[in-house]
Symmetry: C2
Subunit: 334 residues, 2 copies
Amino acid sequence: MTRRPRRPTMVDVAREAGVALRTVSRVVNDDATVGAELAERVRAAIAALDYRPDERARHLRLGVTGTLGAAVRQLSHVNPVLRAVERAARAAGLMVLAASTEDDEVLERHVVESMCRRRFDGIILEPIGEDHGYLLPELAAGLSLVAVDRPVLGLDVDCVISDNVAGIRTAFAHLVAHGHDRVAYIGDDERIYTAHERATAFRACAAAHGGPVDAMVHTGRIEPGRITSAVRAALAGPAPATAIVTGNASISVEVLRRLGADSRKVAIVGFDDSELATLLRPDLTVVAQDDTAIGGTAIDLLRARIADPARPVSRVTVPVELVRRGSGELPPIS
Amino acid sequence: MTRRPRRPTMVDVAREAGVALRTVSRVVNDDATVGAELAERVRAAIAALDYRPDERARHLRLGVTGTLGAAVRQLSHVNPVLRAVERAARAAGLMVLAASTEDDEVLERHVVESMCRRRFDGIILEPIGEDHGYLLPELAAGLSLVAVDRPVLGLDVDCVISDNVAGIRTAFAHLVAHGHDRVAYIGDDERIYTAHERATAFRACAAAHGGPVDAMVHTGRIEPGRITSAVRAALAGPAPATAIVTGNASISVEVLRRLGADSRKVAIVGFDDSELATLLRPDLTVVAQDDTAIGGTAIDLLRARIADPARPVSRVTVPVELVRRGSGELPPIS
DNA sequence: CTGGACTGAGATAACGTTATCCCGAAGGTA
DNA sequence: TACCTTCGGGATAACGTTATCTCAGTCCAG
């Protein structure tokens, strides 16, 4: 008795049913050209042997795998876009298999190359880092890739991104409309593309509105100490900010953590919606991304790219929406 | 010119280098039995053609894919166990590819069967629902599977689960030690195995401690209305609870949302740690699962199962830990 | 010198599918 | 009856790897 029993193959089924290999294949693929009686015999043999087709062989022969890869920063983090991607792909009859890049350039490369070697039909990537040169030969060899959330720097690749500039503008204008004159921005490390784009947009708003710019913008890595000092700096001095715009959901959490009970005294508009937004009093006003649209568009672009590798590259910008919940409507207290 | 250029294969490399196919394979696999000069020529050809091995063919030939599947409830939810699984697998040189089951039995089956047809070496599953009969033929055919978080009901399958009973006991004892006599439990739908196990453990604690049991236990689906009435019921009446144990992280959030400012008046111990736990005042005392141990053990079990399909099934229980943060140390207020 | 052990590299057969051909039987018409 | 078409179904060749042989050489002992 062998330890791991060899799985039955089409040959086994064919022998069991007393037909040719090709006929089994026909039955499995619902080919109409096989007689009813034979088809029944084949199906019986399949059931008897508990035959399961081997997709590896199928994919090898077909050339196509019906599988999309998703290389995201952290699988185990909240990622509504990934959920939308899965759903859209499922609706299109494609399977999405995901892996984490853990914000590590080396790991990202490893993951993407693994997916390429496995000949996934296409890849959805949340790109990290600056150097994506390793993608060049893969793209040349026919890899279909769509970047999400950020573009692939230096490469002409399809991507779908939120309208960060409009989001920041909306947040800023909203606070100004509620009487705020001194608005601070606390954001993530500007080496991250999205963070940089948002910070830059904020600087432009602040400059256009008049008043100090650099003194109101605090960006850098998400570390407890940095956030604490950023909050302190924003709210201190002779002309403290009366409102804060935060650069993403994690920053919002950290800022709220620092503010504690003081969060009622300063107006806040956060970028990115999150579960916590409705946990606090007042609830958090946010600039929400349209996750469903982003995920759906990503799958659309990827399918189009797979269907026609020569089609022109498209970079889609998805609108964002201001969700008023109270924290952004507080009046200035000085 | 063809639209999608055929990727170069080993045959192409062999022709380019003027060697036999087998020699290319040897070079790719770092076989020492190939002369330095030839190896160099082959490597040059590989670089010139931008050759990338096709894992599909490799896996088909080898019989093994070096790939583990993870079928989890929601990819895009916080899931520290999944992260630990990925890391442990990576350390073992295996790739983890994950997909969501979305708490849908039909989808779970679809995902697992897809992974089986792709001949993944093994699968980590967060089982949902009651009927996992579809797994039987797969297991018989040699599928290696490890269940995480909950067992596969009715099937004798490896699994690794947190010590829910000990966790509830610890939480209960902790509150009693801080002077609480009337402790309520608000938990998830008991059709979910984990929820049922925790609720049952709580009932046992309450019964052992004396006093009402059923009146203190509120379980059901996570819906705003239900949580609201559960909280109200727990804190109302002639003998209101002075402390609450919550059944999981989502319940904790919802309960805290309902309590609002009142959260300072009732002691709370939550099951599952989460990011929000340190957002509020006082911070949330929780029974934390050892995610790293769970994920690591799951991979260990899976690898052992793959190596020896005949080994006895093991069901591992991982200890939990009480993390004191303030909310569980509040004195009773009546 | 010659025979055997060793060594590097080439033919070739798998792995489990699908697709291309081809053939034999049935049916219809001249 | 002979011929042409139709159609179900069987050989067999891919798909791109790896593994098992086999076989020329080279080197050294007898």
